[in-house]
Amino acid sequence: MRLTCPHCGERDAREFTYLGSAKLLDRPAGDTGAEAFHEYLHIRENPAGPNAELWQHVMGCSAWLHVVRDTRTHVVESVSLASGVAR
């Protein structure tokens, strides 16, 4: 599989590590309770279709990336810098 890093261009998946759902971008504020953090950490949708994920280009530019990937076909629909994703 290949991912197109916005900085480095198309690279083999071996250069990246996968963290998990892009939901991890939406960290609850420190004063919300454990319930909100439990939801944030443990509760996930499991779509048969496009799924938003976080990958890091660890062997490349170190950028954290927001990737939308179809879990059925593995087609990557979009890759963008996680730092630029609107919250």
Partner: protein, 184 residues
């Protein structure tokens, strides 16, 4: 306190370079001063301008010159007067000395690309990756910086990986050289 001195050692000091087989040579270029520069938020343009003006050094992505692109928002200034650079940067970027942290070696010769093919997943075709192009990628399972130079490639890995990096490179050079002698 008694007088004494400390000698610095090059990371490739004990590696018996240069090493050649077939049409590929592994060699060590002269040691480099490396200064990491990470412009702070909104300061990239100002820092780029200042370095261009005072040191004729351009911070461009994916390029290697007197500034070597090393990843998202980070360059290494190569063999640049660090005091003058710090003055030009004027606190608008984070700077650290990286001169000792990296081991640098060159792979040159007609078979350089064939050898690199056994070590690095990048597309190093000369039209796509001409001299002074640079990329961060993997080299034999290690984080590396790969730069195209005249006649071959310059590879930088973190210092502690030097022995492994050179070992794999020698194996690949030998492998490519040996294949040249096989019957068709």
């Amino acid at each position: 306190m008694a007088e004494f001195s400390l000698q610095a050692l090059d990371p490739l000091a004990s590696e018996s370079l240069p090493f050649s087989a077939g049409e590929a040579t592994l060699s060590a270029p002269p040691p480099e001063q490396l200064l990491s520069v990470q412009p702070f938020s909104g300061q990239e343009k100002a820092v780029t301008g200042a370095l261009k003006k005072t040191l004729d050094t351009s911070l461009e992505p994916h390029k290697a010159g007197s500034a070597l692109w090393m990843g998202q928002g980070i360059w290494f200034l190569v063999n640049v007067d660090t005091k003058r650079a710090a003055r030009a940067i004027d606190q608008r970027a984070a700077i650290t000395d990286q001169s000792d942290a990296w081991a640098t070696f060159d792979l040159t010769g007609a078979d350089a690309a064939a050898v690199m093919a056994r070590l690095c997943p990048l597309d190093l075709d000369a039209e796509i990756f001409p001299p002074s192009a640079t990329a961060r990628s993997e080299f034999a399972h290690m984080m590396a910086s790969i730069t195209a130079i005249e006649g071959g490639f310059r590879v930088r890995v973190m210092r502690s990986f030097a022995k492994t990096a050179l070992h794999h490179t020698r194996d690949a050079i030998r492998s490519v050289a040996a294949q040249r002698s096989l019957p068709k």
